[in-house]
C-alpha cells in the first residue's frame, strides 16, 4: 500500500505508559535470532514468571532485518509489554 500523506513528518505514535507492575500482564520476549540470545531470554522468562507475568516467546527469522510486519502485528495483539533482546 502507498502512503497517501505528504510524508513530511515521520509517523510517530506515543508509547503506552510504563506499567507499575508486570504481575498478570502478558510480556512478549522477542528473540532477534542472535547466538545465545535464547540463553538470556530463558533466564528473563524465569524471572518474569516468578513475579506473576505471563510470558510469550517470539523470534525474528533473522537479526539482519526488521521484524516482519506479521510478527509485529502478532506481538501487538497478544502482549501488553514486549522486551526485545539484543545480544553480542
Amino acid at each position: 500500500m502507498l502512503d497517501p500523506t505528504a510524508e513530511r513528518t515521520p509517523a510517530e505514535r506515543a508509547r503506552l505508559a510504563r506499567p507499575s507492575s508486570l504481575a498478570g500482564l502478558t510480556v512478549g520476549l522477542l528473540d532477534i535470532s542472535k547466538p545465545r540470545g535464547d540463553v538470556f531470554l530463558d533466564r528473563i522468562e524465569q524471572r518474569l514468571t516468578a513475579i506473576g507475568a505471563n510470558v510469550k516467546r517470539y523470534q525474528k527469522p533473522t537479526f539482519t532485518k526488521p521484524a516482519p510486519v506479521d510478527l509485529r502485528h502478532e506481538i501487538a495483539t497478544e502482549c501488553e509489554v514486549v522486551i526485545e533482546a539484543l545480544a553480542d
Binding site: 500500500m1 502507498l2 502512503d3 497517501p4 505528504a6 509517523a11 510486519v69 506479521d70 502485528h73
Partner: protein, 456 residues
C-alpha cells in the same frame, strides 16, 4: 493448429518457441515457459501466436496471428502449413488480459511511484489500519495499492512526479501520484483523474483560499460544479438526484479532493478545520451541469471560461437548500420567490458578504426560458428584488441585534455584490424546485470561485 508449422520452421532454421501457460505445448519443438509473462510483457505481445524475426537480440519484424503469406515472407520458408486455412486472427495474449494487466504493470513496468510503501500484516484488516492511521474521512477508503494507483494513473498523460499544487494548511506540494492515491482511496476510476487534478489545482489557489475555507467555523467546503462534454464521457449525473448519492463520478471526484486536503495538506476536523457544525457535503460535493439542455449556458461561462470546454469550478459553499414554488407560471412571480429565499441566506439582515449559486431545476428554468429571460436577465431581475432599505438591516432593527452597522442612511442595499449571484442548471425533469448553495465570506477577504480547464 500451428504446431506442424513450428516443426517445419524448427527444421528449416533457428527457432525459439515461448509458451504462456502450458509447458507441454507444443511438445516438439520444446517451448520456453513464459508463465510470469515477463517476456510477453517486454515484447508488447498482444496476440498469440506472434512471430518475431530477431537478429543479435534485436527485433527486425513481426507478424501477429496466422497469415501464411506473412509467415512465409518473414521466415523465408515456403509451403508452411499446407493443411491450414490461409488466415486465422489468433487469440489475445495473456499479458494483455484485463484481469492480469494491472499486476503485470507493477511487476514488470519498472515502478515510477515514489511514495513510501506501507506494509500491512496478513492478519491486519487494511480498512481498519487506514482508519487507525487517520487516512479515512469517516467512511472506509479503498486501499491505495501500487496496482490500483498505476491503473488510475493511466487516466492522465501527466507524469506521476509532476507537482500539481501546494496544498493548505501544511503547504505541502502534491504530485500527480499523490492525487492518484487519494483518487483511488475515494473510489475513482482512471478517467476521473483529470477532473480531480483540475479540482485540486483550482482549490489550491490564493483566490479560492482553501486554508480559510478549511479553518473557518462556518459550514463550508469546496463545491465542485463540472461542465462540458467530458462530464457525459465519464458518466456524471446532471439530472435526477444530481446533488445526491448514487453516481460514482459525482460521489468520488469531490471526495478525492477532500482526501488530498486531509492527507497531503494535513487539514483535519478539530485541528485546522474548526467548523462549528460542518455539513454532509464536506465528504465531497460535486455535480455536473446539464449544459446540453441549459437555456442559460454554464456557470463556467458566467465566470468567463469557454462554455464548450471541460471545466471544474470550485466554490466555497454550504449544504444546498431547496426553494419550492409549484405555482408560479410567470417569470416575475418565480423571480420573487427565488429572491425571497436568497435574501435569508446566512441571515436576512446580512448583505454583500456572501456569494451564492442558484442551481435552477429544469421546470423552474422553463418558466424563464419561455418568457425569453436569459442568464443576464434572470440575474438582473433577482438583484432588483434583493435590495433592502438599510434601515431594515441595521443592528437592532426588527428587535434583532444582528445586522449591518448603522450609517448607511436609508439607501437600498443589495444582498449580493454584482458578481456574487451565480446560476447553474441541473436537476431532474420533474419538480418545480431550485436549490441554493450559499457561500462563505466573499472576495479578497474570503474566497472567490475558481474555474479550471480539465487537462488530459
Amino acid at each position: 493448429m500451428v504446431v506442424p508449422v513450428l516443426r517445419q520452421l524448427a527444421e528449416a532454421g533457428e527457432l525459439t518457441v515461448y509458451t504462456q501457460d502450458d509447458p507441454d505445448f507444443p511438445d516438439a519443438p520444446r517451448a520456453v515457459l513464459d508463465d510470469d509473462l515477463a517476456l510477453s510483457w517486454h515484447h508488447a505481445i498482444e496476440t498469440v501466436p506472434t512471430l518475431l524475426r530477431v537478429r543479435d537480440g534485436v527485433e527486425l519484424e513481426r507478424t501477429v496471428g496466422w497469415l501464411r503469406m506473412s509467415w512465409e515472407e518473414l521466415t523465408g520458408v515456403e509451403g508452411l502449413g499446407p493443411d491450414l486455412p490461409p488466415f486465422r486472427p489468433g487469440c489475445g495474449s495473456m499479458s494483455v488480459d484485463p484481469d492480469l494487466v494491472d499486476e503485470l504493470r507493477v511487476r514488470h513496468g519498472g515502478s515510477v511511484l515514489r511514495s513510501r510503501r506501507v506494509d500491512v500484516a496478513a492478519a491486519e484488516d487494511e480498512l481498519e489500519m487506514m482508519f487507525n492511521r487517520g487516512w479515512a474521512d469517516g467512511l472506509p477508503v479503498v486501499p491505495p495499492t501500487e496496482q490500483r494507483v498505476l491503473a488510475l494513473l493511466t487516466g492522465t498523460s501527466r507524469a506521476p512526479d509532476e507537482i500539481v499544487a501546494t496544498v493548505p494548511p501544511d503547504l505541502a506540494d502534491v504530485s500527480v501520484e499523490k492525487v492518484a492515491i487519494a483518487a483511488v482511496m475515494a473510489g475513482c476510476k482512471p478517467e476521473y483523474l483529470p477532473w480531480v487534478l483540475a479540482a485540486v489545482e483550482a482549490a489550491c489557489t490564493d483566490e479560492f483560499n482553501m486554508h480559510g475555507v478549511l479553518a473557518t467555523t462556518m459550514p463550508v467546503a469546496p463545491v465542485l460544479v463540472c461542465s462540458g462534454p467530458g462530464t457525459r464521457a465519464i458518466g456524471m449525473e446532471s439530472g435526477v438526484n444530481a446533488l445526491g448519492q448514487g453516481n460514482r463520478a459525482n460521489s468520488t471526484i469531490g471526495r478525492a479532493l477532500q482526501l488530498v486536503v486531509r492527507n497531503v495538506g494535513g487539514g483535519r476536523p478539530g485541528e485546522v478545520d474548526r467548523a462549528t457544525h460542518g455539513n454532509p457535503g464536506k465528504l465531497g460535493f460535486c455535480f455536473a451541469e446539464n449544459d446540453v439542455d441549459s437555456p442559460f449556458g454554464t456557470l463556467a461561462g458566467q465566470l468567463g471560461v469557454d462554455t464548450g470546454a471541460d471545466v471544474v469550478t470550485v466554490f466555497a459553499g454550504e449544504a444546498p437548500r431547496c426553494v419550492v414554488d409549484q405555482l408560479s407560471r410567470t417569470p416575475e412571480s418565480l423571480a420573487g420567490s427565488l429572491a425571497a429565499q436568497l435574501q435569508v441566506l446566512h441571515h436576512h439582515k446580512l448583505v454583500l458578504a456572501f456569494d451564492a449559486i442558484l442551481v435552477m431545476g429544469p421546470e423552474h428554468a422553463r418558466v424563464f426560458a419561455e418568457a425569453g429571460w436569459d442568464r443576464d436577465r434572470v440575474i438582473t431581475e433577482l438583484h432588483a428584488r434583493l435590495a433592502t432599505p438599510a434601515g431594515a438591516l441595521t443592528r437592532g432593527a426588527g428587535d434583532i441585534a444582528e445586522g449591518i452597522p448603522a450609517g448607511f442612511g436609508d439607501v437600498a442595499l443589495p444582498k449580493f455584490t454584482p458578481n456574487g449571484l451565480m446560476l447553474a442548471y441541473a436537476g431532474g425533469g420533474a419538480g418545480l424546485f431550485s436549490m441554493i448553495i450559499a457561500g462563505w465570506v466573499n472576495g479578497d477577504r474570503g474566497s472567490r470561485p475558481v474555474a479550471r480547464l480539465v487537462r488530459y
